[in-house]
Amino acid sequence: MQSDRSPEIGSTVAIQKNVFNSLLSKLKEQGYEIVGPHVENETLVYAPIAKLEDLPRGFVTEQEAGSFRLVYTGHTRYFDIIPGAQSWKQYLFPSRAELFTLRKADGTWNMETPRPTAPAYAFIGVRGCELAAIQIQDNAFLRGDFTDPIYRAAREKAFILAVNCLHPASTCFCASMGTGPRVEGDADLTLTELEDVFLLNVGSELGRNILSGLPFESASAFVLNAANRGLERAAQQMGRSMDTSDLPDLILNNLDHVHWREIGERCLSCANCTQVCPTCFCWDATDTLSLDGNQTRRERVWDSCFNPGYSYQAGGNTRPTIHSRYRQWMSHKLGTWKVQYGTFGCTGCGRCITWCPAAIDITVEIANLRKEIR
């Protein structure tokens, strides 16, 4: 039954794939800057998109520890690609942002704090693990006692179209982290791509509003079943898994284990894992002072616990060795994060595994630590 009324919140509707272009146009009309997966320079990035054809239809990613390849197979699905190095973090928590500028005039310093401005982003194709990562960063940046104005400016306006993952990569382990392949968090719309149609679950008033007036029909039991079966299959096909049953104690009770040193022999301390991690939120403040000393601009830039300067303080570096920096990272992700925020700092997206040039695999390292202790 074709309908042009508004769908109910919580309901799932089916649209023909070409109708998705109307959905994108509508987002654009409402002022959204639409970003989604896109093939650029022969690799996969998140970039502005305008139409369905901008999505990486026909491409898959082959991911292994330390290796990523974008491969064209010619399939007909638009949302089948497992994300690459980039994450939505780059929009909500930009890698570089001005905090303030100080100017000296008539012997006094004046502080100019820019009002955080961010476009209203529409994120197209947010995976379950990625949505969970956004919610984890919310816990850090949108706290009751402190709210980060730069993050908030982008976050509160963002429209999220999430996507259920039907074909996870071999580095994925969201099923064991409880964040996917089915989208569990709050999205405005959640899409499941079947061969002929997109199923859209309406998660918010905003999502309902975007769909209203577009030709949709309510999803039949047949297509809903197909989606469910696909998601069950995806959970079983997950390339990796993480046993979290003894975390964080396994890490926190074994901080002096020789296994950390063994990892340190392979780790480059290059910081790639932290930079591609969608939950890592560490930053540094850098000042740029004018030659005459009358003006200074402070910027916030992405930093990493793997950088030697990160843990440098009066008296020296508290984590002078590579293994101590790796241990700090992993014990935060899978240990003290839970103490701090009530969740793990890992959603099982697998980026740190794929993008580690040394192919260090967090799921393998945890399993090995457990094995060595027993």
């Binding site: 990035v45 301390s269 790639n272 591609v276 002072l289 030659l291 950088n307 040039p357």
Partner: protein
Amino acid sequence: MSPHKPTLAVYKFSSCDGCQLSILNMEDELLDLAGALDIAYFLEATRAERPGPYDIAIVEGSITTPHEVERIKEIRRQAKVLIALGTCATSGGIQALRNFTDAKALANTVYDHPEYLHYLDTATAIAEHVAVDLELWGCPVNKGQVLEVISALLNNRRPNLPAYSVCLECKRRGTICVLVDKGIPCIGPATQAGCGAICPTSGRGCYGCFGPTRSTNLDSLTNILTKLERTPGETVRLYRGISGYAPAFREIADELLKEAK
């Protein structure tokens, strides 16, 4: 800040002049720079020369001749603060390739009358001859870093120079890792940031012109790179590039060659 404008002297040793040009390339800041400093000696910019001592001496190039050995000592005597500018001055630069071979044989091959040449067997960093207060790496240097160092000196603060790897600069600008994504050999994970990740952003691997980071793991990187070699010996050639005579890169390349034998 001292009541008078600090005097600046810029010197060239064995080099291509590119790093001095990076100073002259500061189109937007050059007038401010000339306003803040008293440029007393900078032959690439002005014929006017005034005798030392100078508050700041910036030295480009490496030490490759007996005459240069003497000249740098005199410059050190005349300078309150001495900055080695660019990878020639900090590691010997590309001309230090001759350190890995027989300089005399090279001279005989290149010149009709090598007997007229007065050269040392090696091209070496300024710091191997005199005390250096600060080293700025890069081939060429990043003009922003030059400005940062001068601004820090003028304002009595520590310069803000990154100690981390090029990887962070790739990520900050959204460049996808060429090593992981394309299997291109890249020594960015072991190279000091500062360039802004120019090479990976252009789709090629980093060849380390900003020199090795202080905290790195070259053994592990070497294991990765040797598996990615497109031609035999590529890893050694990567390490023995523009900053190949920097101790960390030099030692790992030597080890690799020893193993190959």
